[in-house]
Every structure is written in structure tokens, then in C-alpha cells.
């Protein structure tokens, strides 16, 4: 009886446990022993072209498009993680050299021409890499989905980013003509020519994206841009106050505490107010404390802690 239990239970369990222990032990050396791929491997050209794959995916083109989409997200994510720059400027990602983002999104949208998420992500990220490619992808989205007003919004957004307000107004106008489009499109079509370069227009565009997009990537980017605009407003107000203090006292303030009463009287756009954390420090829109550069007598971001890209 005892022998039988030993043979049928204990021995097999011991063998299985022993083998698994050996497998776990082997995993590390196997990983370490694997030869490293060349540095540029992740940036080597895609071996497949989405338009050629189409029709050969056994009816599962959407699944392949999703695969390219996830690869695109990972590609940019890996680039950012691998970057030595602690505070990447989201307005200009050329330093990361993400040359495969466009072909990856191109493949995803070749396989699934109605993949709105891929077009919207491209419209937000590609302008920071290659503006012409961003326009090409968004135009392709509009051509493939002429009744999706959001795609006109993204194309108009790119033209606005590159400063072509005439073209942006034209695109917003076309999008506004689509039944069911947001009133925002009409507003942009009207204000783009006269106020295209203003911060108010930028705020309206990003606020619209944040409130109406279902796409998480769009929401994250729009939220980040809105916080950046808040920072620009606060920076201008604080610097003006510091300048006024300097003129009045013949020296720069020693701390933000010295100009706090003056700051409290400043009216920020949208009725916002300056924010103070639990340690009574003046904080930026991402809750990182502001720094005072006494030499230049200006406010700066704490680049170690903030999540705001410093300049635009």
C-alpha cells in the first residue's frame, strides 16, 4: 500500500517538481547565452507589406492589422524607454529615430482601411516625427472613410500643427459638412484662419479631443498637451509677477512665497487658479513643484519630477 502510494504519487510529483526546478534554473543561462541582435535590428525594414498581405490572410486581415498596431505601440514605447533623455519632447520625437512607426501604421491601415484608432494615433504622434507622412496617413484615412468626421478633425489638426491654417480651415469645413459632426468642427473652420496660432485655439482643439475621443492614446496625448498649455499660461503669469516684484524691490524674489499674495490676484485663463501642494509649494499641472531660477529670475520646471515637456 505504502509502496504503491510512493510509486503512483510521490515519485511522479518528485520527478515533475525536480524537472521544473531544473527548467527554471536553466532559463536564466539560456537567456543570457543567446547572442544579442545587432543594435539596429529593431529598426530594420519590415519584411512584409500590408497591401500585399491583404487577401492572403484567410479572412483575418483585422487580426494582422491589430498585430501591427500593437507592434507600433510597443515600438514607440520601447524607443521612449530606451532613450537616455529623461524628459522627451513629445512635440519632436526625431531624436528617437522611430523610422518604423509610419510603415507599421501603414501596414495596419492597409490591412484594415477602417481602423480609426490607427489613423488617430498616427495623427497625434507622426507629426512629431515626419509631418509629411502624418498628412499622408490621415489623408488615406479620410479617403478610406469619407463619412468619419473625426478623421477630418485629425487631418485638420495636423495642418494646424504645421501652421497651414488655410488648409486646416478647409479640412475642418469639409468635416463640418458631414451629418452628425461635432459643432466644434464649424467653430474650428471659422476661427482657424483668424486665430489659428493662438493658445486658445490649441486649448479648444485638445479639450475637444479629450472629451470626445474613445481612444485611450488620443486621450493621454490630449491631456498631456492641455497640461502643457496650462504650464505655458502659468509660466507667463509667474514670470510677469516675478518681473513686477523685481522692478518694485530691485531684486528677484527669494522664493515663490514672497510673490504668493501677488500670484493670488492673477487671473489664469478658463478661471483656473495656481495650485499649492501639502508642503505649501507652488506646483505645476502635473503636481511637481516649480523651481525658481534666481539668476534669470524666471520659473522653471523640475525636470526630474514633472511630466510636462518643457518647451514648444
Amino acid at each position: 500500500m505504502a509502496n504503491s502510494a510512493l510509486q503512483n504519487v510521490v515519485l511522479p510529483v518528485a520527478i515533475i517538481a525536480g524537472c521544473f526546478a531544473a527548467i527554471i534554473g536553466l532559463t536564466g543561462p539560456l537567456d543570457r547565452g543567446k547572442p544579442k541582435l545587432a543594435d539596429g535590428f529593431t529598426d530594420s525594414d519590415l519584411s512584409m507589406n500590408g497591401s500585399r498581405l491583404k487577401g492572403f490572410a484567410l479572412g483575418m486581415e483585422g487580426l494582422l492589422a491589430d498585430w501591427y498596431w500593437v507592434r507600433a505601440l510597443q515600438y514607440i514605447g520601447d524607443k521612449m524607454v530606451a532613450s537616455k533623455d529623461a524628459n522627451i519632447d513629445v512635440e519632436d520625437l526625431t531624436s528617437l529615430n522611430p523610422r518604423l512607426l509610419y510603415p507599421l501604421l501603414q501596414n495596419a491601415t492597409d490591412l484594415d482601411p477602417h481602423f480609426i484608432g490607427a489613423y488617430s494615433y498616427g495623427a497625434l504622434v507622426l507629426p512629431a516625427i515626419d509631418k509629411q507622412k502624418a498628412i499622408e496617413l490621415a489623408t488615406k484615412g479620410v479617403n478610406n472613410n469619407p463619412n468619419e468626421w473625426q478623421l477630418y478633425q485629425y487631418l485638420g489638426f495636423i495642418y494646424w500643427k504645421v501652421g497651414d491654417y488655410e488648409k486646416a480651415a478647409e479640412i475642418y469645413k469639409k468635416g463640418a459638412e458631414i451629418p452628425g459632426s461635432s459643432s466644434f468642427m464649424k467653430l474650428m473652420a471659422a476661427s482657424m484662419k483668424t486665430e489659428g496660432g493662438s493658445r486658445t485655439t490649441a486649448r479648444t482643439i485638445y479639450a475637444q479631443m479629450l472629451s470626445e475621443s474613445d481612444d485611450q492614446a488620443v486621450q493621454i496625448t490630449a491631456d498631456r498637451r492641455l497640461k502643457q498649455l496650462d504650464w505655458f499660461d502659468e509660466r507667463d503669469a509667474i514670470n510677469q509677477t516675478l518681473s513686477a516684484f523685481n522692478e518694485r524691490n530691485g531684486r528677484c524674489a527669494n522664493s515663490f512665497g514672497e510673490i504668493a499674495p501677488m500670484l493670488m490676484q492673477v487671473k489664469l485663463p478658463e478661471g483656473r487658479q495656481f495650485r499649492i501642494d501639502a508642503g505649501k509649494r507652488l506646483v505645476d499641472p502635473t503636481d511637481a513643484p516649480y523651481k525658481l531660477d534666481k539668476d534669470k529670475c524666471v520659473v522653471t520646471l523640475d525636470i526630474e519630477k514633472t511630466r510636462i515637456a518643457p518647451e514648444n
Binding site: 491583404k54 479572412g59 483575418m60 483585422g62 500593437v70 484594415d112 477602417h114 484608432g117 481612444d215
Partner: protein, 264 residues
């Protein structure tokens, strides 16, 4: 006293019921269904990596897994249904009863189709529940339309599998059926390639393939479903008619081959 046609239908029904029972007892079937459901659950977690595209990934991955594993079930169960009866010699006892070879083949085919339908309902329910979990209920209608189209496609694959198994070994039949599945999805693309680069012979050859082999891309609606589209009634109706016509042709060929087969 029953008429000849009633007897014929009763015979088919008896064989179909038996084939259904036999197929649902097959353990490999359950393994495949569980695997599809696991993939669907996996799609929920994978969806979290896709920046707000969870519902789309669930539809694409869930329905693609349903198509692939449904095809495996059609092929592997289809090629063995008739072969097993011959190999175990149970076919003799069946034919000693008042059941003809035609009734036998049609009954086996319908039994497997019923099994596939039951499997697809389970898989479709899995995808539906996953969609409800991530808040993608607007895609559910499209999912069931796509499942119906997948079922129509699988009825053709099943008919092809049974046809090959009526005169060939299970391994070869499975291989040939898989080729038909692949070519069936490529045929319209091959026709396009032939017309752009090919000679007159190539165009003729690919045009013949296009019409003789089932064009399975008529049943592909997974990508569209993931984008919130719904097939029109006329599209489903045409696809159903197309599938039924091919099913009738293939089953008739199978009956003709099987009727001429000598079991001695």
C-alpha cells in the same frame, strides 16, 4: 405505411442524430472549444495593451480563433466520420438495415453540421461575454452575423472533408481539405494576380479555379465586424445560397463516389 420519401428522411435523421452524438462524445472537440474560450479570455488581457482597442482585439482574435478551430473540427471530425465506420466495419451493420448509401452520407454530413453549429454557439457566447466585460456591446450583433457566416463556410469545408474521405485516407483527406480551405480564401486574390501579371492561359486557369472551388472570402466578415459593421440581409442571403449550392454539389459527388465503392 410510410412513403418512400418519409423513410428516406427518417433514415437521414437517424444517421444525423447518431453522428451528432458520436461527435459530441469526442474529447478533442471539447479541448478545441476550451482552447478557443481561453484565447477569448486572453484577448481581454491582450486588449489592455492596445490603447483602448480592447473590443476590436476581442472580436478579431475571438472570431479568428473560432474560424481556425472550427475549420480544424470540420476537417478532423469530417474526415474520420465515414472512415471510422468503414475501418470498424460497422458500416456493414448499418447497410444491413433499410438505409441507403446516400442517406448515410447526407445523415453524417448533417450530423456534423449540427455539431459545428452547437460549437459555434458556445464560441460565439464566449466572445459575446468578453465583449460585455469590456463594454463593447455595440459589436455583439455583428459578432453573431459573423458567426453565422463562419458556420456557412464550415458547412462547405465539412462537405469537402467528407467528399475526400469517401475515397481517400484520413491523413490525405485532411491535407486536401486544408488546401481547399487555403485556396478558397486566396482564389479571388489569385484571380487578381493572374489578370495583372498572367498570360491568357493563367487567366483561364485561375478563372476556372475561381468558379470551381468555393470562394470562401464571401464568408469573411471578421475585420468588418471589428469595425462595427453589420452584413446586409441580402449579403447573408446570397452567402447562404452560395453555401447551400456548394454543399449540394459536394454531397452529391460524395454520394456518387461512395455508392460505387466496394467494401468487400
Amino acid at each position: 405505411m410510410q412513403s418512400g420519401s418519409t423513410n428516406y428522411l427518417n433514415g437521414i435523421l437517424a444517421i444525423a442524430k447518431n453522428a451528432f452524438r458520436e461527435a459530441v462524445r469526442d474529447r478533442i472537440l471539447y479541448n478545441l472549444i476550451v482552447f478557443v474560450l481561453l484565447i477569448t479570455v486572453g484577448a481581454i488581457f491582450l486588449g489592455e495593451l492596445t490603447a483602448g482597442q480592447e473590443a476590436r482585439v476581442i472580436v478579431n482574435l475571438g472570431l479568428s480563433a473560432t474560424l481556425i478551430f472550427g475549420t480544424f473540427i470540420s476537417i478532423f471530425v469530417g474526415v474520420s466520420l465515414v472512415w471510422k465506420e468503414i475501418e470498424k466495419k460497422t458500416v456493414y451493420s448499418i447497410f444491413s438495415k433499410p438505409i441507403g448509401r446516400g442517406e448515410f452520407i447526407v445523415g453524417k454530413y448533417l450530423g456534423l453540421c449540427a455539431t459545428l453549429l452547437a460549437n459555434l454557439v458556445v464560441m460565439g457566447t464566449g466572445v459575446t461575454l468578453a465583449l460585455l466585460y469590456v463594454g463593447g456591446k455595440q459589436l455583439i450583433g455583428g459578432v453573431w452575423a459573423a458567426v453565422l457566416l463562419i458556420f456557412l463556410e464550415l458547412t462547405i469545408i465539412t462537405a469537402v472533408a467528407i467528399m475526400f474521405s469517401s475515397f481517400s485516407t484520413p491523413a490525405l483527406s485532411a491535407l486536401l481539405t486544408f488546401f481547399v480551405f487555403i485556396i478558397g480564401h486566396f482564389s479571388s486574390s489569385l484571380l487578381e494576380v493572374a489578370t495583372t501579371v498572367g498570360t491568357k492561359t493563367a487567366v483561364g486557369f485561375f478563372t476556372a479555379i475561381y468558379y470551381v472551388l468555393p470562394n470562401l472570402s464571401h464568408f469573411s466578415f471578421i475585420t468588418e465586424t471589428a469595425n462595427g459593421m453589420l452584413p446586409t440581409g441580402s449579403m447573408i442571403g446570397s452567402a447562404a445560397l452560395y453555401a447551400i449550392l456548394f454543399d449540394v454539389v459536394l454531397t452529391t459527388i460524395t454520394v456518387v463516389i461512395f455508392s460505387r465503392r466496394n467494401f468487400k
